[in-house]
Symmetry: D2
Subunit: 351 residues, 4 copies
């Protein structure tokens, strides 16, 4: 059997705990051995919950101890670049949560650092590992619906994002924090890069939540033209209290495909004929993508054990960031924006 | 265009009004011209509602007037035989609601009267005219699921049946009043007559409703062996407050078919992630079989105008009654009952 | 009972026959008495099929005969204005198919003619009469999902549109011919007028169909900002061979609502576990909106008989045309277009 | 962290491999350390596949080695009693696949052996650990649908059972091998023991498969009366090639509940409007109950580590066997059979 992969988790918050649980409960060939978090209380409770004794306030401290093969980074976006570059510099494989970074220069630094140090970089696009999405991709590749013409992808979720996640200085707002997955999935499933985007945003609940962040929005609708000539739409709504909703619909030259479902569990109950029957809905992203989170971590561990590159890495993360930047520019300037405007000359060659 | 068919409705209650509405609102080639009901108040309000001026307390009175071609009989079961025989004797075509009659002798009298007088007899098995059920039958006939092996049919509905409908003296209880459609549909879709039945019943709500009718039950589960060797199950629940529910599932040698749906309307709403989303349910049988009721009446009118026999008549009605009788005998005697026990020698030749 | 409304149908093609069937088969209080079509063969076969003896090559000829109360206009868009104005001038009520006309000036002429002559004008927005859509509207009005924030509406359909319907000179292309219903429904369900639109189009199948119409597109994706601040998306795909698809999804401040379904019939069949089970899909628009077509005609007839204005008329038709014009301008000029650019000064007061 | 539980798997066939995979791939706190199978080839390939070096032809040989805490028994039914009693005698915890044994005397021996030796016995009723079924049970317990009145449970599956599994001498046929889960689930969800059963069977495909086993059947329909007065239905079909199908429907005094779904994956595709759209179906039981298999094994391991009895043990296994015996007696003798006839006097006290 392959050697156990020893992992240090950086960021012991909600996303971090999802990965910790995958490692502890469902992945015999990896081990969560270290924990980094700058907040002492978080470090203590998460460490206790998952039985991790090696706890550090900083990545640097963890690297002095150095008893691990890889890191999982789940801290806020504005910290990604420095942490990923540092970990790569210490020859640790890097699993990095989305969005990859604040801008393309940071993405490039991360990609360069991992390549130079010969370590793997996997981005946290767990939808690619969800059984539904993965099967859909295979079936599109096999030509079942022909050449994709239109794709629609949505992510709507409950809960107000934290302050840093809606400030364009520390994140790129909902387009990045909520819709990164849609940027990645639409490009992946269409088999083509975005070429032009137009974005409309709306702010319905900001006032009620006393949010005065400039350019705050809680609804977004993106129009995309792909290099293939295909079209795309992304919608984001957050907070929305009806559940966590992530679905895709694709129209190809030969047919339609729908991926995902609002239904969270196959237990329906009807007790009132004037109302109807009730079907459970996915409540949270860890619930919706339970298998996706386990399987993306299996893939990361397997990549390290078998020395094969992860299927989704820096290039994919960078394209999602590029979409976010073009989209943000679009709603700020109220005009369609070409990807080439944010990618710069010749950068498309990365794809 | 064909001559308008003039119709006299006997029984101005709930089922009668469903047919009156089909005639008045959706069937240009027929006309509701007369109304018979022994209850003066019902006669008045239903007559007013549907603009029918010719109103009679008895069928005999209506037959004196005699300005109609056909009758629709929707009165309680114990009156069916006399009304149908009388109408047929006056050479009126007969549309007769289910259950056909209280026993096989009555069924035989009705069949004989209509045949002798050269008029048509159509039974109110509207499920055969529902677009879902009709398409399903065609697809089974076309061999899509192969030879049917098991059929399951259910009718669950809200509302306590009236007293006469649960008394074995004036009706045959739920097996007849609620499940007549299932007896007909299972035989029709299986393409085979029932040969043996076993029935279990339960009484969960009788006490709460102060029902002391002997042998009252509000839940029934029927096991059927068909002449083809196939098996069947029928369930009945009434009253059940979650909606009106009528569905069929068939397993054939080559596959499965499901007919019907709990969903009553394609409008779903989710507002609470801890609960889920809500889908409308069919509330009532007129709502569930809106098209079935219109189309069965279209068929009756068309049969008269074009002088072609209706697709569902006395033989079908008689078989449903036979199933009911065998089923009732089964739960009373707590043993499986052969259809031949109720049909008598050689009667199977009717099929 | 109300007087029978006598109707003359102008345009005996596919849409015309849907209305003829509603009148002949399901609407006892109206009568199809006359038929106008400039193509002799169409006039003959449709006249024969529906038993209409009074047949005319032109509306003028029909008006000389004059034995009718109302017209249904189902001819190509570029003929709408003249026919509607002429019929109104002869004091006939007008049922006019979508799109209302080629431009706003024509819309205004039609509105003025019907108002001046004291006749009713109803637009063929049958979705408003579909039971699903109608119930959804009521539930939104009742506040079930709160203030609408995002609406997504789609119409995808099989079959290549006729040449006149894809030429911007004789129609306004797919945005008008296919997506008129979406323009109307999004405005109706959002309870707000569109304020700004951005449109991307794509042409995937034109070459294979030898279409050289300038600006031809077979895929369209519209982004809308409403006056309320809400956002909207419309997609159109035609031809698409997977079926006729018309669905809406709305996110409100309190929840999500989905209207419509891909499923065309509640009969599912599974025979191959490697493939899955098969659910019928709506094949055509008359099938999808069977009740909508009957009920919109019932409404028109009822409006005339009871002298109450139809619920959907010229103002609604005009707004849909305005959306089409702004959308077309958007994709031609590759920029977002304000509705005020096409409506002109002060025209918004119509709403 | 709790000590790793060391497990020896007895029976390296299909069911055995499902558990081996759960242990190896998803359960860090247990370890598959030994393998027993009397077929050398099976032992070799399964051992290689799961990296298990300690391989034995017999349980006795494995017990000489003795380096394990628990066994999983997945061999044919007629071997269960001896293996379970032997393992318990060596103080190994026992996870035993369904059906528990051939008769109630064997069940009693197994229960006695595990109790006497102070080891745990868990039965392989994985449906109780499926997220859908588990949530449904909780909701019924919470009173959501009121007192259960009727339950319908089905198991239909592809593939002809092996010869031993259809011979009443080495198994109890389909009622045991396929429908054990239904016997357990109906009793569990109804919260009541079966009191009387009536069974009809059919043999549609036996001849085509050259099966001459006496009393062979491939379709079964069970009618149950529970001690509570509630009713139940179980259907079994095997082989059926449309997929693996396991669903339950319950009607309570207050409403309806449906558990499970035919749909295997949320990816639907439509390419042909004359056919409809295709939804994946569950193909196999390991696919349908992927989580159930992992979670039942988690539960077994957790029970051992934390010294708490498993939630489903000998009593539950024994009741399922009792149902099977009464059901078999019913179809052989063509009459309803009371459970008391097979349980004997006073045995009901076990429940």
């Amino acid at each position: 059997m392959a050697d156990i992969v020893r992992i240090c988790l950086i960021g012991a918050g909600r996303a971090g705990k999802v990965h910790a649980r995958s490692l502890n409960q469902y992945l015999p060939t990896a081990q969560l051995v270290g924990l980094v978090d700058s907040v002492a209380e978080t470090l203590r409770t998460t460490g206790d919950e998952f039985g991790v004794d090696n706890r550090f306030e900083t990545l640097e401290a963890a690297l002095e101890w150095n008893q691990f093969d890889a890191v999982i980074i789940t801290t806020p976006t504005f910290t990604h670049k420095e942490l990923a570059v540092t970990a790569a510099g210490a020859r640790k494989h890097v699993f990095l949560e989305k969005p990859m970074a604040l801008n393309l220069a940071e993405c490039d630094e991360i990609i360069e650092a991992t390549e130079k140090n010969g370590v793997y970089l996997q981005l946290g696009f767990m939808r690619r590992f969800d059984p539904d999405f993965a099967a859909a991709f295979e079936r599109i590749q096999a030509g079942e619906i022909g050449q994709p013409m239109i794709i629609k992808s949505l992510t709507h979720g409950p809960g107000l994002p934290p302050a840093w996640a809606r400030d364009l200085k520390t994140s790129n707002g909902m387009l990045a924090e909520v819709n990164s997955h849609d940027w990645d999935c639409t490009r992946w499933l269409m088999g083509s890069n975005p070429a032009r985007v137009y974005v409309e945003v709306a702010n319905f609940k900001g006032a009620a939540h006393n949010i005065d962040t400039p350019h705050f929005y809680d609804n977004v609708l993106v129009n995309i033209r792909f290099e293939s000539g295909g079209l795309g739409s992304i919608s984001g709504v957050c907070p929305c209290e009806y559940g966590y909703d992530a679905r895709v619909e694709i129209i190809g030259e030969r047919g339609i495909m729908q991926i995902g479902d609002i239904k969270g569990q196959s237990v329906i109950v009807g007790t009132n004929r004037n109302q109807g029957y009730i079907t459970p809905i996915y409540r949270t992203w860890p619930e919706r993508f339970a298998w996706g989170y386990i399987r993306e971590m299996e893939h990361f561990v397997h990549s390290i054990q078998h020395d094969t590159p992860p299927k989704v890495g820096g290039v994919e993360g960078r394209w999602a960031v590029a979409g976010v930047l073009a989209g943000t520019k679009s709603f700020l300037e109220e005009r369609p924006v070409l990807l080439s405007e944010v990618l710069g000359v010749g950068v498309g060659a990365n794809s």
